[in-house]
Amino acid sequence: MTRKLLALSLLFSAFLLGFNSSALASESEEDKTSFIMHHVVDSHEWHFATFGHTHVTLPLPVIVYSGDRGLEFFMSTDFQDHETHAFGKEFAHEGYFIDDHDHLGRVDGGSFTDFSITKNVVMMFIVIFVVAYVSLSAASHYKKNGPVAPKGAAAIIEPIVIFVRDEIAHKSIGPRYKKYVPYLITLFLFIWFGNLLGLLPGAANITGNIAVTLTLAVLTFIITNVSGNKDYWKHVFATPGVPIPMLLIIVPVEIIGLFTKPFALMVRLFVAITAGHIVILGFIALAFIFESISIGIVSTIMVTFINIIELLVATIQAYVFTLFTAMYIGGAVAEHAHDDHH
């Protein structure tokens, strides 16, 4: 499967290189690399390719909520030039506009909240669908056949489930691990599939978006602190073995520590995935900057190489996020003696 994905990704990158180069060749140096940021950040429409003047895009719904106007639905095509597909303040529609940095804005400057189904939201639902489909077919194997040897989707999911249960949950959380296994498996599969599908050409990398990693980190933060037992809170607010004057320093540090843990989770995944994508896109951009076939060949080889590394990173980051989540939960539920190491 990896090989197929790789072959497909190579084919697509060659394909995109071929069509984009003519459009990009005439533009300035900055424009030749601007597609990198455009690819990495979220967007109100899903742009796949440009053939000359034809844009292959998926128009997406724009949903806005504002206190005074309520919930409103538009399409991304309402806010852009039909020829160039460019967003801009001049294409305002019913009081809203999407600027050339793909930000939704309100003409009269009032406050509003953007609930648009953006490119990353669509991608996230695709990932959720894939994870749900694979997991449910794995579960249905056992529902149909009882507790037998795994087959089909179950053969892919079962080793992951066992790995997460035994190697991550049981080892990091301890005897009370069972309650957290479903969350950890879901987390692992969501991040892993998100990472892998994000590597597909034309796809959005949801796990390289800080909003997604933020949400996951917040969930971990909530679960960790809700599960926290007496020992855990005692450790934070009255660290055993520390003299009372020192607590004035220790307690704020411990409280900051509560937040730095999920913050580190959020940043780690976001940076690892975004950096990988930027490196890949950077190598592709080299071909446009130098406008040379030999550089193109070299950059294709490098892109292939980085893609292989990214497959590894995709798995490692999913593992690391899940492992750290399990360790934080483990720290919160652990029943430790008060004279242990601090």
């Binding site: 949903i63 749900a132 997991s135 179950a154 249960r165």
Partner: protein
């Protein structure tokens, strides 16, 4: 800045979507799957345990058999020993009996011989008596004629008797 500014819409949809996925999978995927895994693990463990048990039982059975065999051997030895003793005793008894019988027979034979001997002696005595009578008779007849010849005759007769 775009890169590190989380979008409100994405956070909302992500929270909504991920929690939906979480609850869907917990209910319909992880619960049955984890239960099935656990069930399978316990069944494998049980199978291994029962195999171990069967092996132990087999070993016990073997030991029992060995013990039984040992006991049987011991019993056989005892029986054999007893039989041997019995046979030795029987032979001894037979020997004793036989020697007793033989002694009895010898005793009987001796008695018979004694009787026969006595009978023979009586017979001899009778014969001697008869002969004596006859000799006396003849002596008496010859005596009438010659003293010396009578004496010679008597001697002759006595000689005859000795020869007999």
């Amino acid at each position: 800045m775009d890169l590190i500014t989380p979008g409100s819409g994405l956070i909302f949809w992500q929270l909504f979507g991920f929690l939906g996925l979480l609850f869907l999978l917990i209910k319909f995927a992880w619960k049955p799957l984890l239960a099935a895994l656990e069930e399978r693990e316990t069944s494998i463990e049980n199978a291994l345990k029962s195999a171990e048990q069967a092996r132990n039982e087999m070993a016990n059975l073997k030991a029992d058999n060995e013990k039984l065999l040992q006991e049987t051997r011991l019993e056989r030895d005892i029986i054999l020993k007893k039989a041997q003793e019995a046979s030795v005793k029987m032979i001894e008894d037979a020997k004793n009996e036989a020697s007793k019988v033989a002694a009895q027979q010898i005793e009987n034979a001796k008695a018979v011989i004694e009787t026969e001997k006595r009978a023979a002696l009586t017979e001899v005595k009778n014969q001697v008596a008869i002969l004596t009578l006859e000799v006396t008779e003849k002596l008496l007849r010859k005596n009438l004629s010659n003293e010396q010849s009578q004496k010679a005759l008597v001697d002759e007769f006595i000689k005859d008797i000795k020869l007999n």
